[in-house]
Symmetry: C3
Subunit: 202 residues, 3 copies
Amino acid sequence: MLDYAAVFIFALTGALVASRAQLDIVGFLFIGALTAVGGGTLRDMILNRDQVFWVADPMMITVACVAAILVFFTAHLLESRLKAIEWLDAAALSVAVPAGVGAALATGQSWGVVLIMGVITGCFGGLMRDVVCNEVPLVLKKGQLYVTAAFAGSAVAVLVLETGGRTGLALLACAGATFVLRAGALMFGWQLPVYRSRPPRA
Amino acid sequence: MLDYAAVFIFALTGALVASRAQLDIVGFLFIGALTAVGGGTLRDMILNRDQVFWVADPMMITVACVAAILVFFTAHLLESRLKAIEWLDAAALSVAVPAGVGAALATGQSWGVVLIMGVITGCFGGLMRDVVCNEVPLVLKKGQLYVTAAFAGSAVAVLVLETGGRTGLALLACAGATFVLRAGALMFGWQLPVYRSRPPRA
Amino acid sequence: MLDYAAVFIFALTGALVASRAQLDIVGFLFIGALTAVGGGTLRDMILNRDQVFWVADPMMITVACVAAILVFFTAHLLESRLKAIEWLDAAALSVAVPAGVGAALATGQSWGVVLIMGVITGCFGGLMRDVVCNEVPLVLKKGQLYVTAAFAGSAVAVLVLETGGRTGLALLACAGATFVLRAGALMFGWQLPVYRSRPPRA
């Protein structure tokens, strides 16, 4: 379930970026699917699972395609596509991070690896989308708390598990922590101090 | 055989892009090999095959290197390198897509996965070449029918197989459909309607 | 040991690039870790090893994080971060290439594959760092002998092994050859002739 939701919402963001790049319908499908399954694919390849999740369940790809088609016919109704991308991406991140944590737990990894898999599953789909479409990666934009939210969410999940909490609770807390941090950054400009002891170089 | 041909032609396109970036001979080899085996490597990693195709058969890399060296000494004879890149890339795409479809069939995947593997094998080598060399990805350029051609070719292969056709025929039809669509886009400007309900944003 | 050293030094370069991009501490960790383990992760996925090296030994990630934090608090002491990045990257390359060669030998690959794994392990971490941070990839900059040094180092290792030398000696010679070439390029501007029969195109 978590996987389906994350795939659907990430595909929406990918298709919205495709609309900004004025691609055709197949471009929407391509970028939508890349964003939707990119992070989880990398996770599964690194964990060397028998099958990447969408090879085991191709319905995942169908879900991503439905999302991309939906955006192709409705994106013009949005007032600000950039805002929609940011908020949908925040929602997708909050679902993808616990999905990644859950997948890592299912293969019995140590907590350090579980933590990293949450971050990878959450961040790399959007990172691939932005690199391919030549947008500044959200991951790197200042004052976004992007990786930080994914990292904190994963850490919360690990904490809950280590203190004896059940998996379901851990994933719920993970989603909540991720969303609150990311939403705080979007709404109130929450951020960590950035490195700025000198002006940037060319 | 299909694999060798796709590797050779994609390596030619990679080396031509390297010539536009004025790299040295090792740069030609690097970009040529990356383009040549990038898509198939990703395919094999996702399918979790025992060995990536060029690890099983390092002659593949040799073929790519021969192509890169050939271009290093002859690229100046071309009148338009950009045109040559586009047409060679179209040829490589028409060979790589059926190669990907064939590889996926050999591991007994469902037709949805077969379709996607055709697209991945065809499109990601060129995509990596363009991202690394900082060119606008051909995959995303308007009016190129790039992913569309790969997608349609894969779909034709699946259709032929599902209606009882033999594998050889399916791969041939796949190559033909891919090339016709891509060549039509290059020669006659065929394209799908693009998303353009609003001006692009910065 | 080689792996730890390569991870540490590459993480330093990644964190320095993060400082040029004015990221926050989590950004330092993210780019540092990506640079540190990117090349080796790709190597292990291509070789289909049972476990990616840092999944088998998560201490690797800790080492990368220590390096990133170190840079976060000391980067302002450097006179030229660009110079520091180049020299540290040269050191990391000289350690990562033999590490990659060693890993490929351990899985019993043919010498062609061993050679390529040296290049991949050495070059792709830095390449991912530069692509994600939108810097011109060092791999592609003119007059850097970057891939060339990695390639020559790997070739030296293969040569030593093929002529009956022991593994330890081969890896040492590999590190030496890589560093000498890269340092020569940085200090004396050594380079291979570049392809330049025509002006570059837009």
